[in-house]
Amino acid sequence: MSTGFVGDLTIFVLALLVGFEVISKVPATLHTPLMSGANSIHGVVLVGVIILSGFVSGPLGYVLTFLAAAFAAANVVGGYVVTDRMLQMFKKRPVPVKAAPPHAGVEPGDDR
């Protein structure tokens, strides 16, 4: 998947600009889940490790690949699962609000 250095640089800069735009006004409660979500996306480094494993050789190369594979897989699998758990916790919030609705006008569970 070689595109040359300038091609890679073009993609890099455009993706940076997308990254700057993709986050807008995030409510503070979502800061940690969003950070965790972004953390799992950089688990894509696993794709790099798979490509790497196709050409390494020698004991040192294998040890490095093994370590990198373990690290990247932990990042990607753990990252998505923990983010999902955080957001699940988030979803449960409106339930206690609905269970106790004496102040019908006030809606603390901001469910936009």
Binding site: I11, A15, L16, L30, S40, F55, N75, F90
Partner: protein
């Protein structure tokens, strides 16, 4: 359509899923769906590249064994810890995942370099930056996780820590320039890695526990950038796109988090140097 084209299309869909997923995570109602979309994109990208290397004919039994054993072990550890962790300990777990992500990005550059140490200057710069940023995040995130866990929540600083950081930074830059100039020797890149590991520790240790969420978010953005650099090293667009995406959005998020705490990112990072001694003096 050749297999390579198919893999490229799958990677494109995966990268789009990352962007859309991250965007959906801006609002509570769609956040969970966004994360699931991003996970689906990740699965697609990983399966596509597995098929690609499988068909490439370069995978020997040993290579499959090394890759799959490592990945399964890591996946099991990640899955277990993500399921078992208490809700209150999630931020430090995210920091740990961030650490290993940065470590993996650095290892890619090291393994690639020790495989063929004669690099073009473009790849050389990317390798050095990958190792530098990846190792800073690796050690920095480990320290941040330990601080959140409450091992040392006070800022830690010792006499000469600033001098040590300067020496390490100088060593990393000097060795990095040597690699880019064509050192042709894997040990030189290892100096960059060791110096950067020390720098990461020196960067996070003086910062107080209360500022850790912002620091973790910043290190998260660093890892994204390191992954993008790994994309340059391997000439892989998927890594470059996803890494740059996380690098930029993580940077914005870091600023948002610091603003929410009425702090500035610069004062948190630099403040560690100023307030560290005071914090330590007040602590005992």
């Amino acid at each position: 359509m050749t297999l390579d084209d198919g893999v490229r299309v799958a990677s494109l869909i995966g990268a789009s899923a990352f962007v859309l997923g991250l965007h959906l995570m801006n609002s509570p109602a769609t956040a969970r769906r966004g994360n699931q979309l991003s996970a689906a994109g990740m699965t697609l990208a990983v399966v596509a590249v597995l098929v690609q290397v499988g068909h490439g004919g370069t995978m020997s039994a040993t290579r499959w064994l090394v890759l799959l054993c490592g990945a399964l072990l890591g996946a099991a550890a990640g899955l277990y810890s993500a399921r078992a962790v208490a809700m209150t300990s999630m931020p430090q777990l995210v920091s740990l995942f961030n650490a290993v992500g940065g470590g993996a990005a650095a290892l890619i550059a090291v393994a690639d370099y020790q495989h063929h140490p004669q690099v073009s200057s473009g790849t050389g710069i990317a390798s050095v930056l990958d190792v530098l940023i990846g190792c800073v995040t690796f050690s920095g995130s480990l320290i941040a996780a330990a601080k959140l866990q409450g091992y040392w929540s006070q800022p830690v600083s010792f006499p000469g820590s600033r001098l040590m950081s300067s020496v390490l930074a100088l060593a990393a830059v000097a060795a990095g320039v040597w690699v880019i100039a064509g050192a042709d020797n894997a040990w030189v890149l290892l100096i960059v890695a060791l110096a950067a590991t020390g720098l990461g520790i020196g960067m996070v240790l003086p910062i107080g526990g209360a500022d850790m969420p912002v620091v973790i978010s910043l290190l998260n953005a660093f890892t994204g950038t390191a992954v993008a650099m790994a994309g340059f090293v391997l000439s892989n667009a998927t890594l470059t796109i996803a890494g740059a995406l996380v690098g930029a959005s993580g940077g914005i998020l870091t600023k948002l988090m610091a603003d929410a705490m009425n702090r500035s990112v610069v004062s948190i990072i630099a403040g560690g140097f100023g307030t560290g001694a005071v914090g330590l003096a007040a602590a005992p």
